[in-house]
Symmetry: C2
Subunit: 383 residues, 2 copies
């Protein structure tokens, strides 16, 4: 496959955008990415989205956005893998450009979640789980994660407050990201006092949803004149069982293991080469599990990276440098594209106070469902 | 891009499958295709589906099916482009295998539509149209097509009964297809007496929905030993405005024109080289418009191909040789894959009484929305 690079990026602030429709939110990110890339059109559009049919009564988001953005007559399609939809759309675009059939592609991850009542959105999010064997039992998505977190605490002897550093780091980093949903520093005390949602997951273990979109323009690497070039060096997608109860070991993210190993191999790197890791901290437990399955910590020891202060922008394994899902926000189908955009910002050196010094290799990992579908991408700076 | 071929195909009968769930229907087609291909696993799974989140409360169909089918840990994703979802999933799989990153792929188009009341399914289907500017006005999907058909009749002077041959041909061909939804011969008289749905579209202008799935396994062409090899020689996708009222000319399928021209060029053929054309006769008007935009008839003259008896398996432009959407049935997100499977059957010479003699080049055209997203694929028999 031919080498592909990211030429432009764009994003919107994640918020409750009562004044903006689905098309406007996605359009804003798309236009920003096209402008950043200096392009007026592209061959094809790939849209990552999970909820629009249920929340906005709108399917067919490929055509919906190609029409709105002015990519008339161009190829366009929507890709869905629950909360992994953003990275799944990115990988579909990558395959098309790598094949040689498509010469330039725009990828937009977009989600408009606040047009429905919370209970309706909770029900819509539950479509990521197994309808017949999980949701049928009345469990919600956060409930599934709570069961995993409780078992993990029991198995490895961690206390709830040991997870605080993940949340504190994300909130601290989001203070310097104007696109983040939350701008509020938190402490261990505040973390522990936060309202319980599904024991042991409290409000500060969980990421806030919201309306938002992030986008990127990709082209063959040999067409990029701009410096530094941001190369897509590794890309892989893997799945696990859709229901968590079907797994032999519910505390190991097999799909993170498989997709990260394949991405490392493709990029010719190891975990120690990764300068920045935008991981999927939808819940604090997922941050720990991602670090473990991706080779940054031993089983049961992901939490220690936070306690040892290794995850800050100055640490050994900087994660969630723009706020992560926890504080930047989690507009589900858009999240994977926010992660890609943020890794590009790091490699370009545009992150100000949360810039990782000399970042050359970055990784983004996007999770759909409770570890059911995981995509890992590795980007490299090429001066 | 490297040459890709279709190694195996599978399909289920389209029906009201009260006794089968979404996973069983998709699984049946998938297992049939894997068995036909003689393969036990593949690298990746691409699922085409439009309605499962709304009808079955199930998103994340990539993982849902990779889990059910036993493609554990493999890449899997869902692609959606309304009624064009099947072909869109096929094209995504093609790009991945053509790029060299994926060595074998299973594509499943699947839809379970009969688990909800008709009015709910009608509302779910309307998500293919523009929610803000079309559906908001209270128009249904069939209503939009009715407006186009009425204008076409007015503009070119055709009577309603002039559309009868499309429906008669599809019903006649479906008599010999065990997987078809309807097995009933019809006449011009019956066509004209049929119940009106949205003037001038009556029940026999419209395709029946249903539950069904169709699947194919694709691999690099140089890995295929089986004869004949079925090569994917042309593939293209194009869009139009999502709302029909935004088009300068609502009676011309611009996206069929663009995608068919590109597919012809890629395959090095012209319309006269096409031996069989599985077109998207969701409504009889769409059969006429597809023939015109794809270069088989002049503007306003697509209907004449039916009246001149050119569209039967013995005609100059055989269409819907297995029953088309009209009589084989239209399980929306699955339809594009039924078309691909049927073209393969023709090129393999497996169509019995509706076999097109000496068929060597076949085309499938799948439409999402009212011409909003159209994909054209050209397959070639390589002895």
């Amino acid at each position: 496959m031919r080498q592909v690079a990211i030429l432009g990026i764009g994003q919107t602030k994640i918020d409750e955008h009562w004044d903006k429709s689905l098309r406007e939110i996605g359009g804003d990110a798309a236009f920003a990415a096209m402008q950043d890339a200096g392009m007026e059109t592209v061959d094809a559009l790939y849209v990552g989205n999970m909820l629009s049919s249920m929340v906005s009564g709108q399917n067919q988001l490929g055509t919906f956005f190609s029409d709105w953005i002015g990519l008339w007559r161009q190829e366009a399609v929507k890709i869905e893998a629950a909360c992994g939809s953003g990275a799944a759309a990115f990988r579909s675009a990558l395959m098309a450009v790598a094949s040689g059939d498509v010469d330039s592609a725009l990828v937009v991850g977009v989600e408009k979640m606040t047009d429905k009542a919370g209970r309706d959105v909770t029900a819509a999010l539950a479509t990521a789980a197994d309808a017949d064997y999980e949701v049928e039992q009345g469990i919600s998505f956060v409930g599934i994660n709570a069961l995993v977190m409780r078992r993990y605490m029991h198995e490895y002897g961690w206390k709830h407050e040991d997870f605080a550093p993940f949340s504190i780091n994300s909130h601290a980093n989001a203070m310097h990201n104007p696109y983040a949903r939350l701008h509020e520093k938190i402490s261990v005390e505040k973390f522990e006092r936060s309202a319980m949602i599904a024991t042991p997951i409290n409000l500060l273990d969980a990421s806030p949803t919201g309306d938002g979109a992030a986008a990127a323009v990709i082209v063959p690497a040999d067409k990029v004149m701009r410096k530094p070039r941001i190369l897509i060096s590794g890309s892989a997608s893997a799945t696990d069982t859709i229901a968590v109860h079907s797994r032999k070991d519910p505390m190991f993210l097999q799909a993170a293991y498989s997709s990260s190993r394949r991405a490392y191999e493709m990029a010719g790197v190891t975990p120690s080469d990764i300068d920045v890791f935008e991981l999927h901290d939808a819940f604090s437990i997922m941050a720990a599990l991602s670090l473990e399955a991706s080779g940054f910590a031993e089983r049961g020891q992901g939490v220690r990276l936070g306690l040892d202060n290794e995850i800050s922008p100055q640490g050994r394994v900087p994660v969630c440098t723009r706020g992560g899902l926890k504080a930047r926000g989690h507009p589900v189908g858009a999240t994977g594209m926010y992660q890609i955009v943020e890794v590009v910002q790091q490699l370009r050196g545009e992150c100000g106070k949360t810039q990782v010094d000399g970042a050359k290799i970055g990784m983004a990992q996007n999770i759909g469902g409770s570890g059911a579908s995981i995509l890992t991408h590795i980007l490299k700076k090429d001066d």
